[in-house]
């Protein structure tokens, strides 16, 4: 006798929902707890290495939208010296094609994802803001040499002791998540 039509389906569904009351919620309380993002993240800015850059302009040709502006002049030993290297990060779609096309490894993607500004002009980044520095680190997208200095990504698949994000039942949360935090 198939019990399909006697209301059993509804009862089974409600039993499953009830079981979920006892599972840990998977919400991350954002400003207090931040997850570790992927090592290869295509973050919100570019990171430029001035000593490696030769001003060849391959990145400007690779960009789909023509976002990168490069102005150079010839210096000693017939090398290019970069006067202006500007990126409009408001129009950028963060595809990473410029990073892939650079033949001298002078460009990498950034790590930041909280880049809201109040005015649109502030999103245009000039070469000082794009240069690599202590607070402006590169991500490992297409540049595996930077992978070791970044923390491992926290995945929902793993339990917290394996370095993941799956939570235990928590009251009002002020706990940090992720390994190394």
């Amino acid at each position: 006798m198939k019990f399909e039509r006697y209301g059993i389906g509804i009862v089974k569904g409600m039993a499953l929902t009830f079981k979920h009351l006892f599972r840990a919620p998977i919400t991350v309380q954002y400003p207090d707890e931040k997850l570790n993002i992927s090592r290869r993240t295509r973050g919100n800015e570019l990171v430029w290495f001035p000593e490696k850059c030769t001003g060849c302009g391959t990145c400007t040709k690779a960009c789909l939208q023509g976002n990168i502006i490069l102005v150079t002049h010839r210096g000693e030993e017939n090398k290019f010296i970069v006067d202006k290297f500007e990126l409009d990060s408001g129009r950028c779609i963060f595809c990473g094609l410029c990073v892939e096309s650079c033949p001298y490894d002078a460009l990498a993607m950034g790590l930041d994802y909280e880049c809201a500004r109040f005015r649109r002009e502030d999103l245009v980044l000039n070469k000082e803001k794009l240069s690599v520095s202590h607070d402006h680190r590169p991500s490992a997208y297409y540049r595996p040499q930077f992978a070791d200095e970044l923390p491992k990504q926290s995945l929902l698949l793993y339990n917290k002791k394996d370095g993941g994000q799956k939570l235990k039942f928590l009251p009002l949360s002020k706990r940090k998540r992720g390994p190394g935090a």
Binding site: R5, M14, F18, P25, L172
Partner: protein, 370 residues
């Protein structure tokens, strides 16, 4: 002697003039109902949001105040600060009166809800019939809101609402008559007193019919096609904003509180319980019933309007009538001291009837030739 009568007696012996003796308890009662209902409705809104979030493996609101208890107040302030827009083609007077017509009858239901021994405002001897009569006035309010908005989506919702709420009144009333037969009176106080075995065990089929019928009266899932978010984008309160929308919103939770209170009184022994004071037991039971209502909302999809109507007329109504006949026969045959016999018989009949109806019941409707 209800509490109100005792209060009047105290005032009379204190020497107040007659009109003050009559008026003061009434005013105090009205104020008390409004304040208590609004407070409990705010707690209900918070509880529903947290509970649904836990069913959906996420946290609910937990930022405003400790554990988010001030979140409904923040919602209320936000709604009050919104501009009150009346559409151009709307019928202005009816658009204005509709929220009041929906909200006020819900407050009137609380006059006959017993929260403790003799703690009731008015002990009407037609208690439960009064509740059914008053709650039908909200239907007119919903239809007024739907028609007077001048919007096609709310018009569809209004047409559906009349059909739904009228058809679900009848099984609800019939299951109440079943209880009244066992008790011997319609008065709410006497129904609570007569429950030595809670009526949920004594009349399981009656409880099921009443519960599903009151879900339909409250416009809650799975019968919430009046305000089906995915189809008609908020239904009858599309064109309302500001305080009028707040009345609809509070009215929805107010009627949930009212019906939860009625289910507790009729089926779960009201305020009776071993250790704690009666009002605590009443609130605990009301919260339990409300949690079951929220649990159903978070799990089940909703019905289509013709499936809803055929469920009411072809499944619930015959079962309610047969339930009534069975209980009438049992009340005649079985003496009052052997109520547990009724329990066993009723469970048996309920199981047989549900199995039988599942086999025979077909949902009509389908593709219509155009």
């Amino acid at each position: 002697m209800t509490l109100l009568d005792q209060f009047q007696l105290i005032l009379k012996t204190a020497g107040w003039p007659d009109w003050a003796v009559y008026l003061t308890p009434a005013l105090v009662g009205i104020l008390l109902i409004i304040l208590v209902v609004l407070t409990v409705v705010i707690v209900f809104i918070w509880w529903e949001r947290r509970l649904i979030s836990r069913f959906q493996i996420r946290l609910g609101p937990n930022r405003c105040g400790p554990e988010g208890i001030l979140q409904p107040i923040a919602t209320a302030i936000k709604i009050l600060l919104k501009e009150d827009i009346v559409p151009e083609k709307a019928d202005k007077l009816i658009h204005f009166i509709a929220p009041i017509t929906v909200f006020v009858p819900i407050l009137l239901i609380f006059a006959v809800m017993p929260v403790g021994e003799n703690a009731i405002f008015v002990d009407l001897n037609v208690g439960i019939i009064y509740v059914i009569a008053i709650s039908s006035i909200s239907v007119i309010g919903i239809f007024m809101a739907a028609w007077a908005s001048g919007n096609k989506y709310s018009y569809i919702s209004g047409i559906r609402s009349i059909a739904q709420m009228v058809s679900y009144e009848i099984p609800v009333v019939l299951s109440i008559v079943g209880i009244a037969l066992v008790t011997g009176s319609f008065s709410m106080l006497k129904i609570v007193e007569a429950q030595s075995i809670p009526f949920i065990l004594l009349q399981p089929l009656g409880f099921l019919i009443f519960f599903l019928g009151s879900l339909a009266e409250m416009n809650r899932s799975p019968f919430d096609l009046l305000e089906a978010d995915s189809e008609i984008v908020a239904g009858y309160h599309i064109e309302y904003s500001g305080m009028k929308f707040a009345m609809f919103y509070l009215g929805e939770y107010g009627v949930a509180l009212a019906y939860a209170g009625i289910i507790t009184t009729l089926f779960l022994c009201g305020w009776k319980g071993p250790l704690l004071p009666p009002i605590i037991w009443f609130l605990v039971k009301v919260m339990m019933v409300f949690s079951v209502i929220v649990w159903i909302r978070s799990t089940l999809p909703r019905f289509r309007v013709d499936q809803l109507m055929s469920f009411a007329w072809k499944a619930m109504l015959p079962m309610a009538v047969i339930n009534l006949i069975i209980i009438a026969i049992e009340v005649l045959v079985i003496p009052a001291s052997l109520q547990w016999v009724m329990l066993i018989l009723n469970f048996g009949f309920a199981a047989v009837l549900i199995l039988l109806w599942s086999k025979l019941f077909t949902l009509g409707g389908g593709r219509v030739e155009v």
